[in-house]
C-alpha cells in the first residue's frame, strides 16, 4: 500500500512538472505580456524599469529557471496584473468554484442515479422515454444556451430566482459560502443546476445502461428466487453494482466541473476561478495561468487517486493488496 502511494505521488509530480513546462513556454509563444501591461505613454526608462521589475527582460530560459527556483521555495510567481502572489489570488477565488462544483455534483448524483435506474428498470414506460429524451437534450444543447434559458425562465419570466452573483455569504471556518443563507442558496441554485445538466444527463445514461445490464444477471434473478423484496433488489443488489462505473466517471467529471466551470461562471457572473482564468489568459498573466494549470493538474491527480480508493471500496475484487498493484 505504501509503495503504491509513493509511486502514485511520484507520477503526480511528473505530470505537474510536464504540465507547468508546456504552459510556461506555450504562453510565451502566444504573445508578449509587455505589450499589454506597459503604459505606452511612459518614457522609455520607466518602461524598461517596469519590464525589469516583472523579470521579462531576461531570455525565456532564464525566466524559466527563475520560475523553477520559485517553485522550489513554494512560490508560484506574482501576478503581472494584480501584483499579488498567483497562488493566493487563485485560492481566494477557489471556495466559490468549489461550492458551485460540489452542489452541481450533488444534483448530478441525486437526480441522475434514480432517474437512470427508473429508465433502466422500465425501459418501455412513457416516463423512461421522457427521461431519456431529456438526457439527450441535456447532452446536446450548448451549456451557455442552457444557462441563458435558465436565466430567462427563472429570473426574467417567473422572477423566482436571481440571475447572477453569489448573493449573501456567511463565513464557514473563515471561508465565505453562499449555501447557508436563503439569499445565497437562491443564487446558488441556477448556476449549480446549469453546471449539473450535462452531468445529470451523463449519469442518467450510465445508470440506465448499468441497470439494464445488471438486472439481467443471474444474481439478480437469484435474489428474486430467494424472495427478497424488490426494494432491496433494486436499492442494494443492482445499485451497488452500477455504482462502480458511475463513481469512476463522476470522479473524472468532478475535476472537469471544478476546472472548467468557466462557462457557467461567466453566464451567471459567479466570482470563481473560471472567470479568473479567462481574464488572466486575456491579459497574458502568465504566473496566474501557470499556477492555475498546476493546481488543476494537482486536483485531477488527487481526485483520480480518491476515485481509485472509492472504487476498491465498492468492488471487493479489485481491492489494492500490499505488494500487488
Amino acid at each position: 500500500m505504501l509503495a503504491y502511494l509513493i509511486r502514485r505521488f511520484g507520477q503526480s509530480l511528473l505530470v505537474m512538472a510536464v504540465m507547468a513546462t508546456i504552459v510556461f513556454f506555450g504562453l510565451y509563444m502566444v504573445g508578449n505580456p509587455v505589450d499589454l501591461l506597459i503604459n505606452p505613454e511612459d518614457d522609455l526608462a520607466a518602461q524598461e524599469a517596469a519590464i525589469r521589475r516583472l523579470g521579462l527582460d531576461q531570455p525565456i530560459y532564464i525566466q524559466f529557471l527563475q520560475f523553477l527556483k520559485g517553485i522550489a521555495t513554494g512560490n508560484l510567481g506574482v501576478s503581472f496584473v494584480h501584483n499579488t502572489p498567483a497562488l493566493e489570488l487563485i485560492l481566494s477565488r477557489l471556495p466559490a468554484t468549489l461550492e458551485l462544483a460540489f452542489f452541481a455534483m450533488l444534483l448530478a448524483i441525486l437526480l441522475g442515479i434514480p432517474l437512470g435506474m427508473i429508465a433502466g428498470l422500465y425501459p418501455s414506460s412513457p416516463g423512461s422515454r421522457v427521461i431519456m429524451g431529456g438526457s439527450i437534450i441535456g447532452f446536446s444543447t450548448p451549456n451557455f444556451w442552457q444557462g441563458l434559458m435558465l436565466i430567462m425562465l427563472f429570473a426574467v419570466f417567473w422572477r423566482v430566482l436571481p440571475s447572477g452573483g453569489r448573493g449573501q455569504t456567511t463565513d464557514l471556518f473563515g471561508i465565505p459560502v453562499s449555501f447557508l443563507t436563503l439569499d445565497g442558496l437562491k443564487h446558488l441554485i441556477l448556476p449549480a443546476l446549469n453546471l449539473a445538466i450535462f452531468k445529470i444527463a451523463l449519469v442518467i445514461r450510465l445508470s440506465r445502461a448499468g441497470t439494464s445490464e445488471v438486472s439481467l444477471q443471474d444474481y439478480v434473478k437469484y435474489a428474486r428466487a430467494r424472495g427478497l423484496s424488490e426494494k432491496r433488489i433494486v436499492g442494494v443488489h443492482i445499485l451497488k453494482n452500477i455504482l462502480i462505473p458511475v463513481v469512476t466517471v463522476l470522479g473524472l467529471e468532478l475535476g472537469n466541473v471544478i476546472a472548467f466551470a468557466v462557462v457557467t461562471e461567466t453566464v451567471f457572473a459567479w466570482p470563481g476561478i473560471g472567470k479568473l482564468l479567462i481574464d488572466s489568459i486575456g491579459l497574458l498573466d502568465r504566473p496566474v495561468v501557470v499556477a492555475y494549470m498546476m493546481l488543476t493538474v494537482f486536483m485531477f491527480v488527487m481526485i483520480n487517486f480518491f476515485v481509485d480508493m472509492a472504487y476498491s471500496m465498492l468492488d471487493p475484487r479489485i481491492r489494492i493488496k500490499a505488494g500487488k498493484s
Binding site: 444474481y219 434473478k221 442494494v236
Partner: protein, 331 residues
C-alpha cells in the same frame, strides 16, 4: 398416501417471439412427494430449465405460463400475487442455479446475502440470523463458517460457492428445492462431493427435490423418479432404476447409449443422430421422429402419453418392447 408437495398439471409455457409463439414446455404433468427426488433429464433446449423457472414463476420476458396448474401444497402458484409469491420463494420453494460463479452477487459479502434471505422471511434479530447462517454453512461442510461468512464470493472456489448456495436453499427448511444443473459447472471431483453432500442432507429431511440435469449418471445416483424431456414434453417417466435398466422410449435409450463406458472402449461412441428440433417449427407428429431409429408411418401423428404400469408412462407409438409387456404398449 401423503399429498404431493408439488403437483404440476398440464403446464404450458410459451415465449412470444416475432416468429410466433415458441412452446418451450408442452403439457407437462408430474408430482413430487415429500422426501422424493425427481430427476428431470434432457438435452439443452428440451425445456427442463424453463419448467423449473415456470414453477418459480420467474420466467424471463417474453416467457409466460399459458395454462396449467402448479400446486405447491395445494396452492396454485399461478394465481398468487407478487407479494405472496415473494414470501414463498426462498422460504417454501428454494432454487439452486446452474453456475455458482454467477449466482452470488459479487459486491456483497456472503453474510449479507445469507442474512438478508433470512430476514426477508423470518422475524428474527440480526444476530440470530447470523447464527442461523453460520449453522447452515457448517451443515454443508464448509470449514470455519464464521470466517467464511465475512468473505466475498470471489474469494471462494466454485464448489465452495455452490455449497453456500445449497446452504441458503436449505437454511429455511423449504418444502421443495429446484436444483437447475447445480453440478454442471463444477469439475468431477467437486461434483461428486456436492452430490454426496446433497444425499446426506436430504436423508433426514422431508423436502421434495427436483434435480434438473443432462447427466443420467447423476440422476441414477440421486433421484427416485426420472422424467425425460424432449422438445418441451415429458416423453418418459418412471422410477429411476427401472427406467434406466429398461428404457421404453427410443430417446431415453439413445441418451443411455451416449454415455461412454468401458464396453465401448476403442469403438466409436454412440450418439443420437441429428439435433434438437426447432421449437418454432415442430410440424406434426412425434418431434423425435426425424432422429428416431424406430420411426414408422404411424409416427406422423402425435403419440399420446400412455401408462405402462409400475408408475411408468411413455409417449411413443413404437416403444422398446423388452421394457414392457406387449399388451400395455399397444396404444
Amino acid at each position: 398416501m401423503t399429498a404431493p408437495v408439488l403437483s404440476v398439471r398440464d403446464l404450458v409455457t410459451e415465449f412470444d417471439t416475432r416468429a410466433g409463439a415458441l412452446r418451450a414446455v408442452n403439457n407437462v404433468c408430474f408430482d413430487v412427494m415429500p422426501g422424493e427426488v425427481l430427476g428431470i433429464v434432457g438435452e439443452s433446449g428440451s425445456g427442463k430449465t424453463i419448467t423449473g423457472f415456470s414453477i418459480m414463476q420467474l420466467l424471463d420476458k417474453p416467457g409466460k405460463v399459458k395454462s396449467g396448474e402448479i400446486l405447491l401444497n395445494g396452492k396454485d402458484l399461478g394465481r398468487l400475487g407478487d407479494t405472496e409469491l415473494r414470501q414463498l420463494r426462498g422460504d417454501r420453494i428454494a432454487m439452486i442455479f446452474q453456475d455458482p460463479m454467477m449466482t452470488l452477487n459479487p459486491v456483497l459479502r456472503i453474510d449479507t446475502q445469507m442474512i438478508e434471505t433470512i430476514l426477508a422471511h423470518r422475524k428474527v434479530s440480526h444476530a440470530e440470523a447470523r447464527q442461523l447462517a453460520e449453522d447452515a454453512l457448517a451443515q454443508v461442510g464448509i470449514p470455519s463458517p464464521a470466517e467464511r461468512l465475512k468473505t466475498y464470493p470471489h474469494e471462494m472456489s466454485g464448489g465452495m460457492r455452490q455449497r453456500v448456495v445449497i446452504a441458503i436453499a436449505l437454511m429455511l427448511e423449504p418444502d421443495l428445492i429446484i436444483a437447475d444443473e447445480p453440478t454442471t459447472a463444477l469439475d468431477v471431483t467437486i461434483q461428486s462431493q456436492i452430490l454426496f453432500e446433497m444425499q446426506r442432507l436430504l436423508s433426514n429431511r422431508n423436502m421434495g427435490l427436483i434435480w434438473i440435469t443432462h447427466d443420467l449418471t447423476v440422476v441414477a445416483g440421486l433421484a427416485h423418479k426420472v422424467a425425460v424431456m424432449y422438445a418441451g414434453r415429458i416423453v418418459e417417466f418412471g422410477p429411476v432404476s427401472d427406467l434406466l435398466d429398461r428404457p421404453a422410449h427410443p430417446y431415453t435409450r439413445g441418451l443411455i447409449d451416449s454415455i461412454p463406458s468401458n464396453a465401448s472402449h476403442g469403438k466409436r461412441l454412440t450418439q443420437i443422430p441429428g439435433m434438437t428440433p426447432n421449437l418454432l417449427n415442430l410440424g406434426k407428429g412425434c418431434p423425435f421422429r426425424p432422429r428416431c431409429p424406430r420411426a414408422s408411418d404411424i409416427c406422423a401423428s402425435d403419440p399420446e402419453t400412455s401408462s405402462t404400469g409400475d408408475g411408468r408412462t411413455v409417449r411413443c407409438h413404437n416403444p422398446i418392447e423388452e421394457g414392457l409387456d406387449d399388451t400395455a404398449s399397444a396404444t
